[in-house]
């Protein structure tokens, strides 16, 4: 893949929060028109990666390019112009709680497009219909379930017909029917409109079914990449552990801690009555 084919390019990216290193030498490319999955154990910085791509945070070292533009060098106005070409679905939906479902979806259009009210209404209802929530247009976000809120957020993310769609854990909390609809929607947006998608998810089964290319992150780096079928065949223990979901392997399940037995023993000693 050349840089011309790539919508997003991360090259040797290093990022840390305080002294905690999140990425060290991260390299990643997202091909135009593809569905690219980013997977990895919890706490590997998948959401941080999305924030780097959107220019919400800046890498300490390395290069983040989106649509050929280096994100770190953009001023606020240029960054906002770039973001108008991108839609993002937040993990928790992030709906504006003082606006109705309809107004939430209409929000980007009202801000960026000078449309007649009738056209705006048609567009919003079309997007709500696509996520199956046209009937909920007048509800407030507080009246929605978590899954419904995420579907509304998806309608809002696609209302501007973006060139790049970023999904942060889009399948969490969805019932099987909604999940099927959302998967088909992501796929049809990709196939019919040529929208490039980046999907962050833990769901290996769904990702395997829909992604063209996958990256597996661990320890601040990409430890494996390729099509889902290639990842499944990957011999590396870390990849196999993640793909098969086993707790034992090179990727630690437990947060670093002192020896369990010694810690329990120390507590027992501290609680024991003194001999004197």
């Amino acid at each position: 893949m050349t840089d011309d084919d790539a919508v997003v390019v991360l090259r040797d990216v290093q990022y840390a929060i305080g002294t905690r290193e999140i990425f060290n030498g991260l390299n990643l490319r997202v091909r135009r028109g593809s569905i690219t999955a980013v997977m990895g154990p919890s706490g590997t910085g998948k959401t941080t990666l999305l924030r780097l791509i959107m220019g919400q945070i800046l890498a300490r070292r390395g290069e983040v390019r989106v649509f050929g533009q280096q994100v770190a060098s953009l001023d606020r106005r240029a960054l906002y112009r770039l973001r108008q070409r991108v839609g993002m679905l937040f993990q928790n939906g992030a709906l504006l709680t003082d606006l109705s479902v309809f107004e939430n979806v209409a929000f980007p259009l009202r801000e960026h497009a000078d449309l007649p009210e009738a056209v705006l209404r048609e567009l919003v209802l079309m997007k709500l219909q696509a996520v199956g929530l046209r009937g909920a247009a007048d509800l407030m976000p507080a009246e929605l379930s978590g899954g419904m809120a995420r579907r509304v957020a998806l309608a809002r993310a696609i209302v501007m017909d973006p060139e790049l769609l970023i999904y942060d854990e889009p399948f969490v909390g969805l019932d099987p029917i909604s999940m099927g609809v959302i998967v088909r929607l992501i796929q049809s947006l990709n196939r019919l409109l040529g929208i490039t998608s980046i999907v962050v998810s833990h769901d290996v089964r769904i990702i395997s079914a829909m992604a063209d290319y996958s990256y597996l992150l661990s320890g601040g780096k990409v430890i494996a990449e390729g099509s889902p079928a290639e990842l499944c065949k990957e011999k590396s223990d870390a990849v196999q552990q993640f793909m098969s979901g086993t707790p034992d392997g090179p990727v630690p399940f437990h947060y670093p801690a002192p020896d369990y037995f010694e810690q329990l023993l120390a507590r027992t000693k501290a609680c024991a009555p003194s001999d004197s």
Partner: protein
Amino acid sequence: MALSALGKVGSISLFLVRVLGQCLPALARPGLVIRQIYNAGARSLVIIMLSGLFVGMVLGLQGYQLLARFGSESALGMAAALGMIKELGPVLTALLFAGRAGTSLCSEIGLMGATDQLAAMEMMAVDPVRHVVAPRFLGGLIAVPLLAAIFSCIGIYGAQLIGVTMMRIEPGTFWSQMQSAVGLRDVNEGLIKSVVFGAACSLIAVYEGYHAEPTAEGVGLATTRTVVTSAVVVLLLDYMLTAAFL
């Protein structure tokens, strides 16, 4: 300690410049600002009117007792009006505003941050300072002088209730003394003070909310800081403005 306080003053000043820069675009959408004037102003009316009435009545009682010692009870109208318009109206309104509307502004913006709503706006290429902060700042800035005027009027009425109805001061004397002593300069002093206090309280509330830690505890702490800082700043500014107007 001093360095950190200086840093915070610098940070608030930079934030003020950013907010002021977004005030004109925010005014281009009057609906957003009017909604905030309603939230911060109209919803504070009951507490402002009740407080104004009782403060005016206390002023009437204390003023009458004091003036009676010198046989100048007839000056109660003048004393109450000057006290309310120049000092008590702007200061107490600002303190009540900080407690009632400032906390609400701060926690609302803080929770928007904690639930990723501000980040979502950023991602949709909408500046949250223009869409969320500036309308709330303007709402407070416009609401406080209006509330202070209502507070002062009700307060003067409260003082009149005590002075004229209870203490039997001649109504004509009460009102004419007030009319002859209170000039446009006094009204302007009260107006300028309330505008400055309104700007200070609104700025502190939106700053603390916008910079609150995105946790329940963080929003709670920011709300507390809003009330404490607003109270201290209002009293400090009141001293400085009073000295400047002398």
